[in-house]
């Protein structure tokens, strides 16, 4: 295999018009459900930061050229308000990344366009109400659409006594008010389902399969099948979701190789 040093560093592009979070997906007529699937060894923090950045500012720290979409003018608004809610990470993990890549201090207590929520220390039972409240707060202020990132909500299936359909119902209610990015683990050990109803893997793969059947876009991160390499961290696959959304929002399916080095810098390459 060629080493990463020979490969050309690439920009991240998700849709056919080379956008990352397309402006068309932010139209009020259709709410998107996007999935970010990852393995345990390839966590998507860097990708989440890139997507949040693109939602807010329409830029992307991964790209060399900071593309400005012609259809978008910055008239005092951000592209989309963002809520980042995590069931597994606290603010610490993200705030360092945001500072590092974007010079943004997201730990500032009240920013009008961005909200970080964590349900690690806080009352996990009230996650749904909390997010709903924040969505309504954000959408009251502006006309632009809210994008919500939910990290590992599947934990709710095992920590609380919430059933798969109950969780999906709540996610659907949220999705009716915003675009949703759901970050979930897709380790093979969690997907090796059996016929037992209460087997973790059965619960988990049922949840994920149902979610995938609703999705408009799937981004998946996994390690190289050939094992660890010093110059490649893993691969990023962009798949269109199972449901096509609205005309002209066309996902360009492709595979990237990516490298996150010890300093946390990220590079993308074509496979």
């Amino acid at each position: 295999m060629t080493s990463s040093s020979d490969l050309q560093h690439q920009d991240l592009a998700v849709y056919q018009d080379s956008s990352i979070v397309s402006h068309r997906t932010l139209s009020p007529s259709y709410n998107h459900l996007n999935l970010i699937l990852h393995h345990q060894s390839t966590k998507p923090t860097w990708l989440t930061v890139a997507l949040v950045e693109n939602c807010l500012l329409d830029t992307c720290y991964l790209n060399t050229v900071k593309t400005k979409n012609s259809g978008y003018t910055l008239n005092g608004n951000v592209k989309s308000e963002v809520i980042l809610a995590s069931f597994i990470n606290d603010l610490n993990v993200y705030s360092k990344q945001f500072i590092k890549f974007l010079n943004l201090d997201i730990s500032a207590p009240s920013s009008p366009n961005f909200k970080f929520l964590e349900f690690l220390k806080k009352d996990i039972d009230r996650w749904f109400e909390t997010i709903q409240l924040e969505i309504s707060k954000l959408s009251q202020k502006t006309s632009s659409k809210v994008t919500v990132f939910l990290e590992n909500p599947e934990l709710l299936l095992f920590i609380t006594n919430c059933t798969i359909n109950q969780l999906l119902e709540k996610l659907q209610i949220l999705n009716q008010q915003c675009n949703l990015f759901i970050i979930s683990n897709s380790d093979p050990s969690l997907l090796d389902h059996t016929e037992f109803e209460n087997d973790i893997s059965t619960i988990y793969s049922t949840y994920l399969a149902k979610l995938i059947h609703k999705s408009n876009l799937i981004l998946s991160l996994c390690p190289l099948k050939t094992g660890r390499a010093n110059d490649i961290t893993g691969q990023l696959k962009i798949n269109k979701g199972l449901i096509s959304s609205i005309p002209n929002v066309i996902v360009k399916e492709r595979e990237y190789l990516y490298l996150v080095n010890k300093d946390g810098n990220v590079k993308l390459f074509f496979r």
């Binding site: 560093h9 345990q40 060894s41 390839t42 966590k43 923090t45 860097w46 990708l47 500012l57 830029t59 720290y61 991964l62 060399t64 900071k66 910055l74 005092g76 608004n77 951000v78 597994i88 990470n89 606290d90 610490n92 993990v93 360092k96 500072i99 590092k100 890549f101 010079n103 943004l104 201090d105 500032a108 207590p109 920013s111 009008p112 366009n113 690690l120 220390k121 590992n152 934990l155 095992f158 920590i159 050990s189 969690l190 090796d192 087997d199 973790i200 893997s201 988990y204 991160l221 390690p223 094992g227 660890r228 961290t233 996150v260 010890k262 300093d263 946390g264 810098n265 990220v266 590079k267």
Partner: protein
């Protein structure tokens, strides 16, 4: 190999790598863009002017942001200073300076504590376990090497706690096992028999020694200051003498190289890490003041009570006290009797609860859990969930008997080379969270030696016929440096024996 790499980082601890290569790539634009995001070396930080031209370089982005402040509010451009400064806002800083067992990570400058084994500290990439994180130790087979690691982790806490008898600085919480187990915590390694003799001579001269430090705490209070300096001196002398040994066997002491580079930081953090002799026990053993043991209540339906007790135990300690939590032999049916406690929801709730406690007290808590993979293999989705909620994961995979026999045969003359098993890394604190792929399978081997838990890069044993000469040399070097040979074969048994007795009560 990676040891040397880390050595490089140690050598230049202040240069925090730039964030830029990820952004810059187009050659013409790169240099100006580079500056604002680079964590500048200290000299540059003091010059605010260096920030300005850099901003102009980002002209494509800045006007956008420039027009925003009204709406972006607090979300606006803020100049990030070094990470340390960022952390200062949190209450982590006090411990970093004042606690003898805390030092900044060589990678991220987060405050870290030692796990009690310098080799484990090393493979965790931070030179320790960052405070506020957890380490899951998985073990295959019926051996119990992981308990050794948990014991030295606890011992390390006690040793640091006893540095200054007038004030506590560390508290231990042991979940699942009681004080009887805690009585078997290993004591500090006092050097080889030769070194011990040397020490005895010095002892007579100075009337103060390491063992005295521990035995006569009353005395200590009086001449605390003096002794501290002396202890440091002794340590240095020890190092010097070992360095002399190294000179003789410098060709064979490859892995010692990294330790040399460590010397610098060791003098800066003299009490960060100790060596433990697992054949000895810590005297006096941990008192209830130092260690809270929380048993798993029989006939309980969930872990709520355990979590509550942990929380209370932490809250009883003043805020400047470090907390080391150990959950040995998690889900071992001999300790976790109730089948109710083995159900998915309960287990995941417990692990999640532990994580919540860690994050709530993230400026002073660390956690070690050990889990047996024979009972809960990694293909078991429950293990996957436990792993998902852990910040760092290492796996101990003892060699199967054939391989062990082969090694014994090949290294007949170099018992020091015999290892006990593979050590796999599945997750590293902070790095895995950021998205680094940290899985390292079959790259390291471990050896549960008498004086240290040793981790080395794994190399396949090669049967060599005509290396008598070489063997002799290497043999002498190992005899010189450390007196491990006899322990290698004894240890696994002794540690096993300990656990069987533990489980019986």
């Amino acid at each position: 190999m990676s040891f040397r790499k880390r050595g490089e980082i140690v050598g230049s601890p202040n240069v925090i790598p730039s964030a830029v290569p990820g952004r810059g790539g187009a050659p013409p634009a790169a240099p100006p863009v580079a500056l604002p995001n680079t964590r500048q070396p200290p000299a540059m930080q003091s010059m605010p002017s260096s920030f300005r031209p850099a901003v102009q370089g980002r002209s494509a982005v800045v006007p956008q942001r420039g027009s925003v402040p009204g709406t972006l509010g607090n979300l606006q451009l803020q100049r990030p200073n070094t990470q340390q400064q960022h952390q200062q806002r949190k209450d982590e800083q006090p411990l970093l300076g004042s606690h003898p067992g805390v030092r900044p990570s060589i990678l991220t400058s987060e405050p870290c504590i030692s796990t009690g084994s310098s080799d484990i500290d090393k493979i965790l990439a931070h030179q320790g376990l960052p405070i506020g994180t957890s380490l899951l130790i998985e073990e295959n087979g019926t051996t119990d090497f992981s308990s050794t690691l948990l014991k030295i982790y606890l011992s390390q806490g006690i040793v640091q706690n006893r540095l200054n008898p007038s004030s506590q600085n560390t508290h231990l919480i042991l979940v699942g096992l009681d004080q009887t187990w805690a009585k078997t915590l290993p004591g500090v390694y006092k050097g080889s028999s030769k070194e011990r003799k040397k020490l005895a001579v010095k002892e007579n001269e100075s009337k103060v020694s390491v063992s005295n430090l521990i035995d006569s705490q009353q005395q200590q209070q009086l001449q605390l200051q003096k002794e501290h300096i002396l202890a440091q001196k002794q340590k240095q002398q020890q190092q010097e003498s070992s360095n002399n040994d190294l000179k003789i066997a410098w060709r064979y002491g490859l892995q010692r190289k990294s330790e040399k580079s460590e010397d610098l930081s060791e003098s800066q953090y003299p009490n960060y890490n100790n060596q433990f002799d697992i054949t000895s026990t810590l005297i006096p053993s941990a008192s209830p003041k130092e260690l809270t043991s929380i048993s798993i209540p029989t006939r309980s339906k969930s872990y709520d009570l355990v979590l509550k007790q942990i929380e209370q135990a932490i809250q009883r300690q003043p805020p400047n006290v470090l907390i080391r939590i150990a959950v040995p032999l998690f889900l071992n049916p001999m300790i976790y009797h109730e089948s109710q406690l083995q159900t998915t929801t309960n287990v995941i709730q417990f692990i999640h609860g532990l994580k919540r406690i860690l994050k709530t007290h993230q400026s002073r808590t660390t956690l070690l859990i050990s889990l047996n993979l024979d009972l809960f293999p990694r293909s078991n989705p429950m293990t996957s969930l436990i792993e998902m909620l852990s910040d760092a994961i290492i796996e101990l995979r003892p060699f199967d008997p054939q391989l062990y026999n082969l090694m014994e045969k090949i290294y007949k003359n170099q018992p020091a080379k015999i290892k006990h098993g593979h050590l796999n890394i599945h997750k590293l604190p902070t790095l895995s969270d950021v998205g680094l792929m940290c899985v390292q399978d079959m790259e390291y081997s471990f050896k549960n030696g008498k004086k240290k838990f040793q981790v080395e890069e794994w190399s396949i044993p090669v049967e060599e016929e005509d290396t008598d000469n070489h063997n002799a040399n290497a043999n002498s070097s190992s005899a010189h440096g450390h007196d491990e040979p006899d322990v290698a074969s004894v240890n696994p048994m002794s540690s096993k024996r300990q656990t069987t007795t533990d489980i019986e009560f």
